[in-house]
Amino acid sequence: MPELLRVRHLVKHFPVRRGFLGRRTATVHAVDDVSFTIGANETLGLVGESGCGKSTTGFSVLRLIEPTSGEVRFQGEDLLALDVERLRARRRHMQIVFQDPFGSLNPRLTVERVVEEPLLNHEPLGAAERRERVEEALDMVGLLPEHRTRFPHEFSGGQRQRICVARALVLRPKLVVGDEPVSALDVSVRAQVLNLMVRLQRRLELSYLFISHDLAVIRYVSHRVCVMYLGQIVETAPARALYERPLHPYTRALLSAVPVPDPRRTRQRILLTGDVPSPMNPPAGCRFHPRCPEAMPRCAEDPPLTRAVATDHLVRCHLYADSPAWTPEAPAPATGAGNPSPEGGRA
């Protein structure tokens, strides 16, 4: 699987300004040293609780917000070094689907206008050709040609999310960032949209950066998963390995907290105490140590390094101090040999 996106040491700090002069009084460490890769035709799940920086990461990758530092390479080219014009040209290969299908569609534009907008920006086509592309995109997401002239309010939440997917795909992008794309949908409709996204990936050879707080959804759609906590990735692994053998105490606690739809099953639940601390003042040492059931004295002082417990299983925790340290500069183990083959991925 060739590499499509490589993110290294991504950092996004938001200044907090207060008072008359707008002095910088604090910094929100929204994303702090995040590194990952996404292969062609691969889905990388990014999971974590609210405020962990997963959406900021997704937005930074597309430069919808400017990262503070780091490197985002898309097909080998560093996006952060591009000027506005060249960035715009690259953006046609990278699209996004947002969480709220109500807030992300202009209520005054018809479906056709919504879906053709990216074409107007990026592809100089004739009217007939453009209409063809719009209809093709609508057809891909299961909408009918007569829906073209309707307005967003005439559609249900699930159908609106289909419109958003059509808008994202009309340019035939290589990477789609999904920022909680099914979280606002009802259970019965969620399955429709998830199945649709999976079908489209197979058909169009897309890569997804799939951001969600829902562990069951992430498990279902992802080849590999990154777990984030307070601005950092604490564990990266192929989906199956992560869910069957979670290594980081946070991942374990998170997985044990998910309610399982089986009343006969009684489980040992690892109840985390307290709340997620503020990213304004992340704890010293390991950021998880104040809530960690397995914290050791050194966790309060030393920030743990990321370690490779297997070639494709990375964890940021002192419990695995015996494993070799990992840096994103090392040959990419994440998309390497240990990865269970996603179908169709090795074109």
Partner: protein
């Protein structure tokens, strides 16, 4: 013993497009100390059901087109407003999905909690403060002496929901209506809050009606379940029965559309329920689920099935089950 009995309740809304039957002929009961789950998707009427029990709906546009709500034998729909004031927050209380909008932002947490004691228990100021601090400690709010002086915005989502639970349980009500109490919370906090509710239920013997769309929450916290769709109960069973042997095609569809633990997109597609939930203003003439139902037959299109008792505590509204 039966604590609450809802009998053929019909809560309708007058809208410019006609009458919306949000709750349409719902009957159920809650026994002392039990947890009843009410499951359904948005717009199925589960929240309106809870608000009807406490008569918290704006009237108009809402009105009761029929039915009774018997709480300890008393019909709440016929009760005078001052009788309701004595019941709300005292014998029956409610917690809502979004704790930020349910708390008053301009009063301290302590003020709002003390109000409950002063109103229903006629506590003096100092006694109310003492009880409030004690209750906050009980629901796991750290440093409650300090927290009572803080405003809702100073608390995290999980802490606010704890405050809501403290307020709801302050008077040791016999019944707690919990409307999506953990939906707005993160997974790790959700587990804490569910655990807390169940623990307080054991200590105070409060019955809980747990309204949720999350089948995982239902499986972990309830003894019995009613599945709602477009204002009607489609199926009712003990929780174990429902998960072992779901009978209504809607229930089965819901269960199948949640990814199973072992499933990935590589091994199987998720089961879908085709179409969307119909608007309550434009319901199909027969069974409301018929347009989406994979098993619908002619009779389903013609006539809505009754909620038929097919075993002890087991009811289902489906022609395919009752006529099989």
């Amino acid at each position: 013993m039966t604590l609450l009995r809802v009998d053929d309740l019909r809560t309708y809304f007058r809208t410019p497009h006609g009458v919306a039957k949000a709750v349409d002929g719902v009957s159920l009961h809650v026994d002392e100390g039990e947890v009843l789950g009410v499951v359904g998707e948005s717009g199925c009427g589960k929240s309106v059901l809870a608000l009807s029990v406490l008569r918290l709906l704006p009237m108009p546009p809402a009105y009761f087109a029929g039915g009774r709500v018997l709480f300890m034998g008393k019909d709440l729909l016929a009760a005078a407003e001052n009788e309701m004031l004595a019941i709300r927050g005292n014998h029956i209380s409610m917690i809502f999905q979004e704790p930020m909008t349910a708390l008053n932002p301009v009063f301290t947490v302590g003020h709002q909690l003390m109000e409950v004691y002063r109103t229903h228990r006629h506590h003096g100021r100092d006694e109310a403060r003492r009880s409030s601090i004690e209750m906050l400690a009980r629901v796991g709010v750290p440093a409650p002496e300090r927290r009572v002086r803080e405003y809702p915005y100073q608390l995290s989502g999980g802490m606010r929901q704890r405050v809501m639970i403290a307020m709801a349980l302050a008077c040791r009500p016999a019944l707690l209506l919990a409307d999506e109490p953990t939906t707005a919370l993160d997974v790790s906090i959700q587990a804490q809050i569910l655990e807390l509710m169940l623990q307080l239920r054991r200590e105070l013997n409060t019955a809980i009606v747990l309204i949720t769309h999350d089948l995982g929450v239902v499986a972990e916290a309830t003894q019995r379940v009613a599945v709602m769709y477009t204002g009607k109960i489609m199926e009712e069973a003990s929780t174990v029965e429902l998960f072992d042997r779901p009978l209504h095609p809607y229930t089965r569809g819901l269960m199948a559309s949640v990814p199973r633990a072992e499933a990935t997109f590589e091994t199987e597609a998720l089961a879908e329920i085709k179409g969307v939930v119909p608007s309550v203003a434009a319901l199909p003439p027969g069974c409301h689920f018929e347009p989406r139902c994979p098993e619908a037959v002619d009779v389903c299109r013609a006539q809505a099935p009754p909620l038929a008792e097919i075993g002890p505590g087991r009811r289902v509204a489906c022609w395919r089950v009752t006529h099989a």
